[in-house]
Symmetry: C2
Subunit: 207 residues, 2 copies
């Protein structure tokens, strides 16, 4: 197997952190986003959408999409469990993960890709007014998550799961490119959770 | 259990079609989107994001997010399998489903919500230029799916899965509100697949 990845990019980082939690090591191939290597003919043959990460299996098939790669790795390395043991637990963790993806991760990505001049080549055309509006939604949804974390220690409930990884990578992306700090918005539960996750050895994976 | 749903809305329709394929019947409660019932205090207590569908379990917990609800129902009613038997198959079906969600379903939703005057109360503010650009991306991504369906009979491969449901509901949403017809764009494999899925008894569920 070989994992196509890109240091610091938020989706590759989710998979790197997931692997670090499970102690999985894989051969890595870095794809240079700055040089547009993800748009090269050879990479588009692996993933027609030019997105990262992508996992090339030994039989030549290519598995794309962050969460699908995690599902596959969870099957190969079940412990520690990060996506749920039973179908019921899997469903509730998927709900939490999905809410983070839709209401925080994707919204931060929209805000950054449509507003940040460095993303003009990736998001063409940019719609800055849309991006600004998404930035406001991000702050509003961060407030929702602060309320969730007032009542439970982790994003999906009582234990660390993939939903914490997704959320941590979303907030670190927003921290770097939107200068977003939960404590500065009065979101103290979110800040405390963020600082707790940042202490895990996996937090530096993929950076 | 009770399923909160809304006739004709695309996400509730995905769950309705999934249930019809499995022969699952549940008590339903319709939420009147036109009357803003999804924004009522009582519904927001069930789902703070005001989205549909939502599944209320007998123990009072509420499971939201379309795909998470399907994961739960697949656990209760494993046959016919729609989301994969092994972790490996689950991962490849999740990849296909995710690509449809990100590159077609969400893009169509953006195009419609930001351009259609009927969605002004739901998407406030609307960004029509962004919506128009998303409509172009939708057409481009439909061409990608046409290529996929030239090589295999179903969205995720050789058999009908949840990814076909997601894609069918995305194209029916686009058919109604973007007047999109694959054949008119020269996408004959996509049109043939669409017409084949439309013949399944489940295709009218949730409409």
């Amino acid at each position: 197997m070989k994992l196509y990845t890109a240091p610091r990019a938020p989706n590759p980082r989710r998979v790197a952190m997931f692997m670090a939690e499970k102690g999985i090591a894989l051969p890595l191939q870095n794809v240079d986003l700055g040089a547009g290597e993800h748009r090269s003919e050879s990479y588009l043959a692996l993933n027609p959408f030019g997105r990262l990460p992508a996992l090339e299996l030994d039989d030549g098939r290519v598995l794309c999409e962050t969460r699908a790669i995690c599902t596959y790795l969870e099957g190969l390395h079940p412990s520690p469990n990060l996506m749920g043991e039973s179908a019921e637990e899997r469903a509730f963790i998927e709900m939490a993960d999905r809410r983070i993806e839709l209401h925080l991760f994707a919204i931060a990505a929209n805000a950054i890709r449509h507003c940040h001049p460095g993303f003009a080549p990736l998001e063409n055309p940019q719609f800055p007014d849309f991006g600004t509006s998404q930035g406001e939604k991000f702050r509003e949804n961060a407030r929702w998550l602060d309320g969730v974390l007032a009542a439970q220690p982790y994003v999906a409930g009582q234990r660390f799961t993939i939903a914490d990884i997704t959320a941590f990578c979303a907030f670190d992306f927003a921290r770097g490119l939107m200068k977003f700090r939960p404590a500065e918005q009065g979101l103290m539960h979110l800040q405390a959770w963020r600082d707790r996750i940042a202490e895990r050895p996996s937090a530096s994976a993929g950076t």
